[in-house]
Symmetry: C3
Subunit: 178 residues, 3 copies
């Protein structure tokens, strides 16, 4: 199994607690990951990088925005497609990958492959990240853009942030835009 989950790894290395005397101690390392795409193949890098950060004792948050909101949309998270156009070296030309049903089939094949590697599906992965202390947030502006409300999101989402909130929380972090 590639990913430690809270059941098999009950004691993941905790993130260091910041000292009250911040001038004497460096701030703990922190990853702030922006997830902006909604394909199954597009969200896994964010989820796996967040998981790896927590396993390494690094603080982690994911900020879901634009199409990335699909990954925390309770109605969509179990039905994400695969962005086959993101892989132009695939033996299938784009015109074939675009046929109705092909994205679903690709998602099915990717799901089987993830299972064979003991990697959970997206909903379980997000639950696991929440249990590991990775904070999940939705982007307020993108929520308005997509006509979504908090009740549309999976319960693991800790809150809805403005871009300003995101900047407050990502000060000193290594930020990744995925």
């Amino acid at each position: 199994m590639f990913l430690a989950n809270p059941e098999t790894n009950p004691n993941p290395q905790p993130a260091p607690v910041p000292s009250p005397d911040a001038s004497a101690t460096p701030a703990p390392r922190r990853m702030a990951i922006i997830c902006s795409h909604g394909g199954l193949d597009q969200i896994y890098p964010a989820l796996i990088l967040a998981n790896g950060a927590r396993q390494a004792g690094i603080e982690a948050m994911i900020f879901f925005t634009f199409w990335g909101l699909d990954a925390i949309n309770d109605k969509k998270v179990d039905h994400l497609g695969v962005n086959m156009a993101g892989n132009p070296s695939s033996p299938m030309p784009t015109v074939l990958t675009g046929l109705p049903g092909m994205e679903t089939m690709a998602a099915h094949m990717m799901g089987k492959k993830l299972t064979s590697l003991d990697i959970p599906g997206p909903r379980e992965m997000l639950e696991m990240l929440d249990e590991m202390g990775c904070e999940l947030y939705a982007c307020e502006l993108a929520m308005k853009f997509m006509d979504l409300e908090e009740k549309d999101l999976i319960p693991q989402v800790k809150g809805v942030l403005t871009v300003g909130d995101f900047y407050d929380m990502s000060e000193g972090a290594q930020i990744l835009f995925t």
Copy 2:
């Protein structure tokens, strides 16, 4: 309105001025955002993150490269399409989203949605960013690749940078590749 613009917010929080004694004062926080894609949905994350940075008093620059040059190309900025393949969870299969006219229709729908949220179109957004002190730059190598000259760009672009220049300007910054 989600985005403060210079008219409604005449006094955005200024970025802190670096002290002459750099050893005593930490450098001001700075975002260096690379914009490498040219779809309407692909450039907004860069524009909105830059806007949010300036609103938070954080220094910001955007380095437009590859397809991202379309966003500052005076002839193209008002006619950007939407990259519908970036959203494989969309109810429309890729083959339909690829029909001639669909990207234009999607761009039209996205434009209407942005307007309803009081978010300006790309040209006005770039003008606003320039007024707010966000620096806009074009990538020299990508300009050659696309056969573009400075006169092809919108006037808000401050200059054309080599990758080496970009590294000089992004030392100590949080860099995002979008």
Copy 3:
């Protein structure tokens, strides 16, 4: 020529050697670039940013994961396609760009343009990066996902890293996800 290569620039500015007394000297600047897509147009930003970093005396590594593994796959590196869907402002509608042969044609045109700018093809570019001291790594999890083994990779790849290894190596770096 835009890119200095080891032949024409036999003495690129070396990255500063970290002092044994780490408390007295700041760590050298380091770029950790994640390459997650496999299109010819999608890998060049990573390659060019890594090249620019080494030219500027900045330490650099590229971590190839997911579709990005195609770029270091010995059988695929010479046959990468172009992700035309990444450029929705292109005058060609997606449905046309998806026709069999169009991605190959686009790759051929892009290759010719790169040659005219004295930019090497991907294999030569990776060899050059290796000679310049840019470290190339493959993602272990993605290797399993793609059923790849180390013998399938180009010889310049220094090793296969877990996500945890990547975090160890990217501490203090500016990380880019491309």
